[in-house]
Symmetry: C2
């Protein structure tokens, strides 16, 4: 079993409009609502790939819509409550040119009690389902204590889990000291924390600061894994066109599944590229087609080199 | 007492962002939520002006946020439930230039049961509070029966109420045959239904089709009332700068208060201009400052002329 924790889940709302004009009023033709937030996307991909998963998180009032969407998609979940209104992301898609403009709410401000609630939910679930891997993924809510993610990593390790963290900025920097087993920044997030966009150099710096394995996602240029003395690069021969939102989450899902099943190195990374690319071909984040994963997996190009640091 | 009916209430959400760029993702700095929908705005203005009011409507899941805002502002209300999610309007305001771009959801699709629920709520309330005036105001939800507004007008007349309707397009056209006491289209809505933007000619056509009194709002050019043989024009000497959203609702509130208190003609219309203009000076729809109303009321410019038709 793999458990995912989403500290700041969202209801992802898509508005279809005819054409967006700044400063004007628009009639929304169609409203679509799906569960969002990176850890929930990871759980969606793992479910689509037939892996056993349990998704955890805290939602504000109106979070029932998230639970309903997860249930409809067969994604096992247990969501706690936090004061305030459920976080929404609103993406306005103009039917003329398909251009998408997104507005992401920060989410309800956490009290100390919210942090307690999430820790208790994670502790209870890890004790009950004994997962091999714990994934902590996504943006952190306003007001989350600075040690919020580190505390969750520590709970995972205490329960014998391999712990993967996908976070950015202060949240990523703050979690390194407790030694997560794998972190997966994208190349922009890497640069924000260590000041270089070079994945091998940057990953080495994250490892110096405490991370064990590092996977850097570089958009269409693929993934780079840096481990003890080894740097592996994996990509597809040609970039795919599609929906990049959720590609990183599909990579994390593959990394979680691979670590749970004892894979490492080139095998682990090739899976991650295939799952990630399959996600790009789906219109919605958190979904992959297993047949597409298998087809793409055969085309992954891999290179390995020694890494310093 | 004045009762307002809002067939399609909304939660008006305002997003503060740094600067809007089409095709990009934006971090929302601040989320503000207030009750919206034209009939609720009318009730808000009447409450601010010290009139007794009861606001009715149907809301989807999440409508508690509307009820909470109404309660916080002291607006008496009774909201029924409809299947689906509460309608939202999202207005994105860029802090750079204050430019506001709005996205208005259509609202939950009504079933036949929703129409029954609203009719029962209106009948029960009119029986209990015996209002002098019934205001039916705002957009109609998808799936509302074509005779939905007419049925509400008929209930109002059966209870001896003066009935005011503020609606547009098919909803306005469809309600004329049952003879509402007053309709208040703006000049755009007038043109959509009768094919002319001239308020006196257009109002005469609405009266031919069944409306009794007609007030046409013409933006900064003020209001025109057309009654038996009389056309009254009222405006301010200078256009005001501010928030035009809700100006029409403040005019309707004044017309409702005036009809409840036996005013007519120039008096009625001068009040409506003053309340409407006071609303323009407030940042949020559904609010006026009584002192500002009084000050502006003294400056209203009135002309009356005979009207044919």
């Amino acid at each position: 079993v793999i458990v995912t924790v989403t500290p700041n889940p969202a209801l992802d709302v898509t508005y279809a409009v005819d054409r967006v004009a700044l400063g004007r009023s628009h009639r929304v033709r169609e409203v679509r609502e799906v569960a969002g937030g990176k850890g929930l996307n990871v759980a969606g991909v793992l479910t689509a790939m037939g892996r056993e998963v349990m998704a955890l998180g805290l939602v504000g009032a109106g979070g029932e819509a998230i639970a309903e969407d997860l249930a409809a998609r067969g994604i096992r979940h247990s969501l706690g409550r936090v004061d305030g209104t459920v976080r929404r992301t609103v993406t306005v898609v103009s039917s003329g040119d398909g251009e998408a403009t997104a507005f992401n709410e920060p989410g309800p401000r956490w009290t100390a009690q919210a942090a307690d609630t999430l820790r208790a939910l994670v502790t209870r679930t890890l004790g009950a389902v004994r997962p091999a891997v714990l994934v902590i993924s996504g943006s952190v809510p306003p007001g989350m204590p600075v040690d919020g993610l580190s505390a969750l990593v520590a709970i995972g390790r205490a329960h014998g889990c391999v712990v993967i963290v996908d976070a950015a900025r202060e949240a990523l920097a703050g979690v390194l000291g407790v030694g997560p087993d794998l972190v997966k920044p994208n190349h922009h997030e890497l640069a924000e924390v260590v000041g270089t966009t070079d994945p091998v150099t940057g990953a080495a710096r994250l490892r110096e600061r405490g991370a064990n394995q590092v996977v850097v996602s570089c958009g269409p240029r693929g993934l780079v894994l840096v481990d003890d003395g080894l740097a592996v690069r994996a990509s597809l021969p040609d970039a795919l066109r599609g929906n990049a939102t959720g590609a990183g989450d599909a990579a994390v899902a593959a990394l979680a599944a691979g670590l749970a099943e004892g894979r490492s190195g080139v095998q682990l990374l090739a899976d991650a590229v295939a799952w990630s690319a399959a996600s790009v071909l789906e219109p919605t984040a958190g979904i992959v087609d297993p047949a597409v994963v298998e087809r793409l997996r055969a085309t992954v190009v891999l290179t390995a080199e020694p890494a310093t640091g």
